[in-house]
Symmetry: C2
Subunit: 152 residues, 2 copies
DNA sequence: GTAACTGCAAAATATTTGCATCCTT
DNA sequence: AAGGATGCAAATATTTTGCAGTTAC
């Protein structure tokens, strides 16, 4: 429902070879739907939610297929969910060792108040915090909002 | 849909006087619905989502009223939303100067993997992070998950 | 050829809106 | 008494499920 879109920061491995590789590496059969959605994530480094994906892909694909494909990708650790304040799940590519299963997406996400684009700040690591006695941390998420590089 | 429930940490101002005060301070008329929902938040320090509130209150109140009441509370700065990975908005009381309008909810939230209760770690402040050139931070959210004090 | 994937239909769930009625001030 | 708040009905949006047809390997 909002413009959660593109931001190119990193690698430029948007070729079919890599897409196929990623799918095969995760024991997934290579289908058009999966290739298209994965390509979207590779092209638009940053976060996407269901609505944006649906808009980008258009009527070529059933809405249900998008739901199921995203679920499969999350299960395989190809993408991960980013916490949001509104109730729209945002997904982003897992970097690093993520394909292995458990992902190491311990980087900060930035949401721009102006353009609403979510950017993965791959090189900003989430700092450790000291919790009260008795709390055992396993995972942390951090979302910073403000004005991004492009909108300043 | 999940058990996002109670956790008492702080103040014990769960008396009707305070509830009325909060509503009046925010130019809201004092109604049963608002008193009940606000009481819930005061009693159960921690986060609540729509489903939990609906369950706690039962059939005394229309579902629509809960939606509208929560929206009003957010607008007035009485409660704020907590980012989540699933698509359920969680709400928590604003502490400190929050009633003023802009809230200072710069504390860490903890979600227990075992009991699914969200706790406001009021005394754990979100650390500052250094962002890449050009990013202007305005606000930060941090959610840590793991095992909480009660479940360890 | 077989298992897995997809599209379609439909169910289940969640959220929003309009309006008449009731309650707070 | 007047304006806002609530309940009800219904519209809209979102997500899930079942099943039959199709595709990847």
């Amino acid at each position: 429902m909002d413009a959660t879109n593109r931001r190119s920061t990193c690698s430029t491995f948007t070729n079919m070879e890599t897409i196929n590789d990623i799918l095969k590496r995760n024991d997934l059969s290579v289908t058009d739907s999966r290739k298209k959605i994965l390509e979207l994530f590779l092209k638009q480094n940053g976060a996407l939610n269901h609505g944006v994906i649906e808009k980008s892909i258009g009527d070529d694909m059933d809405r249900v297929t998008i739901y199921r494909t995203l679920q499969v990708f999350v299960d395989k650790g190809i993408i991960h969910t980013i916490p949001t304040n509104d109730n729209s799940i945002r997904y982003a590519l897992c970097k690093d060792h993520c394909e292995a299963g458990h992902h190491h997406d311990n980087h900060v996400h930035f949401v721009c108040d102006s353009c609403h684009i979510t950017t993965c700040l791959d090189h900003v690591t989430i700092p450790e915090v000291v919790l009260p006695e008795g709390f055992k941390p396993k995972h942390a998420e951090m979302v910073v909002s403000g004005i991004c590089k492009e909108c300043e």
